[in-house]
Amino acid sequence: MKSKLFPFLVLLMILFLIGGIVGCTPTDGEDVVPPEEEEEEGVEFDGEIKIAVTGPMTNIQGEMMWWGALMAADEINAAGGVAVGDEMYSVRLIQVETDEIMDPLGAVSAVENVIVSEDPDFLIGGFRTEAVTPYTDLIARDYNKIFIICGAATNELLHGRVDVDYDAWKYLFRVTPIRSTDLVTVTILMLNDVAMAVREELGIAAPKVAILAEALEWNEALVQMAPQIFPTLGLEFVGTFRPSATASDVTTELRGIEATGAHIIYTIMSGPVGIPFGKQWGELEIPACPVGINVEAQKSGYYPATDGFGDYDCTLNTFAQNAAITEHTIPFISKFVDLYGQLPNYNADTYSAVYILKEAVERAGTIDTDSVIAELEVTDYTGAAGRVVFDEAHDVIWGPGYVTAVGIQWQDGELVAAWPLEWKPDAQNAPDLVIGYEGVVPYQIPPHVLEQWRE
């Protein structure tokens, strides 16, 4: 039996695996192109600037980091490279698979390995705070290399480090996203807009809000602060639910939220739990409007991954394809979508990080670390996400005239910007100052929520 069955079964298994490779990979358009294949041909450079991109490269966050950096590097190389004094240098990217979502400690080894073996001039990336905290320690204090964070939001990665012990931590900067306390501010502004819609359309004077926050370090500040802010907005806080960031089923949590009578779910999620949330919230028609942060909902793949049930989910993002934050936003997004077939999320602003490094090197006329740091500190760069200026902790400044972030909502299968529509950042002192980007549309209450509360 063995001799007859074995070849057949093995053949079937191989066919199944090959079928998977052939059937899936190309159609997804998610291949990560090795840097070697992207070298410019026919362009002579005097040297090269090596930039290591560190991130979870088999996950969308890492891919976005890589694609954003790759797009910038290709553009820079095609335009003649980086002027370093009298010489022209090309940009060479080194991809570093940190697998930091699943293995934060392994990420430290991956970063150290690339520093020792490749000796990059600069590093950019970093997604999960639990991994970025130890490896920024390594990069700054052991190897004295410049690292621009393009993913982790935790305040303490920079604040309390760069501004307290400058000599030890001056190597660290952040371009994207805005720091976690500013994330709270933006999501609270978005929440306020949603609460106003609930009051107007459902006639509920004091909407109830439940927090659904994954159990991770980066959102602790948000989870602690939010319930204290809700009453100032006329909102009633009804409870906090904290599933694991990798939970694959949140039905029970959603039922618990429904039992609290919440009208709004304030979401704070960066992990894969965002997908079962969107799917189960929509499929079970939970009568509460989600708003806040759901990183999974920032991606083109969210709608199909939730089988369309994630429609009307509302989350903070850095870009939106319909919102012209600056004159660079729409061209950047259009080119990104053309090249990689997906909308960029906030991690893709490695694009700006590479350009900011280029400009700093050109101003410094050298790739010497201290000289480049001095030039990075005086950065004033207008990119796709807004105007990037660093504060005393080397963090990107949030606010009107700088990077503001946007609120996005899935509306009928399209990802559109829904905040800021008419934001008055200082209504008392500057009532005429109204921020609203071209293309932003009004927030929409999910139809099933409208229907159930009207009943």
């Binding site: 969308i60 602690q224 319930p227 991954a305 089988d307």
Partner: protein
Amino acid sequence: MRGLPGLIHHPGNRREELAMLSDILVYGLMNGAVYAMLAIGFSLIFGAARIINLAHTAFFMLAAYAIFYFGSELAINPFIAIPLSIILVVLVGVVVYYVFMEPIREHETAVLIVTVAVALVFQELILIIFGGHYRGVSSIVAGYISPYGIRISYQYLLTLGVVSLSLFIVWLILMKTRLGIAIRSSAQDREIANLMGMNVAKIAAATMAISVGLAAVAGVMVAPLYTLEPHMWLNPLVLVLAIVILGGLGSIKGSFIGALILAFIEVTVVFLIPGGAFLKVAIALAIMLTILIIRPEGLFGVYMEGER
């Protein structure tokens, strides 16, 4: 614990208490059924062949990805895609058994390590083929019902039905067929079964097929409920191990009851301590440890497996 506002939920009145109780009963039953499906398969192969198959939930993952591939990527009708996925995964399971486990079956520790290696190979293959992206599978039946205000998706109900049917079929096989008698006798004493003329290797292979089949059925049914990613086998494995240890290694009845106990504990934690919902598995495992201190052989296990 982190001083979270709203950490512990206090039901306001008797009506709220009853509503919460019914929530816990319904969701505990639904989660418990899926856990039971996985745990019974695990228990079966251990009981019949003394194989601790740590790749068991990796087969569950393979089945979930297979239904994603056939159903979502190739758009094959679910009524074809589901059996196709189950059959393929069972075939892979049988091949794995003959190639990797059968030659070293007498060395139980070696088999244990091999199953870990097999699971990791599956994980890496899935990562290479599908990437680390989080995937979703469409529900076979979309929508929900709302008896007494408790929302239950049709997919969950369907899963519950299929799980119940599968467990009934397995019971029929074990109790009413010659194969079932052979599996049970092999489980009771493999050497005597061998001396009585039974081909214990083939019985083990058949048991492996049934065991992987149960994992595959669970995989294809919960794929629309869960998020697919290459590490999705790890969390269920921890739960399955906890369940079979709690219920008693090799005891099918114990696995079933252990699954329900852990599921009810998890659901209760979410409802009573919403701010600590992420601790549900940890609390369930802590309770399991407490029970084991009182009853080391598990709820329905024999004191020492080797003494059977």
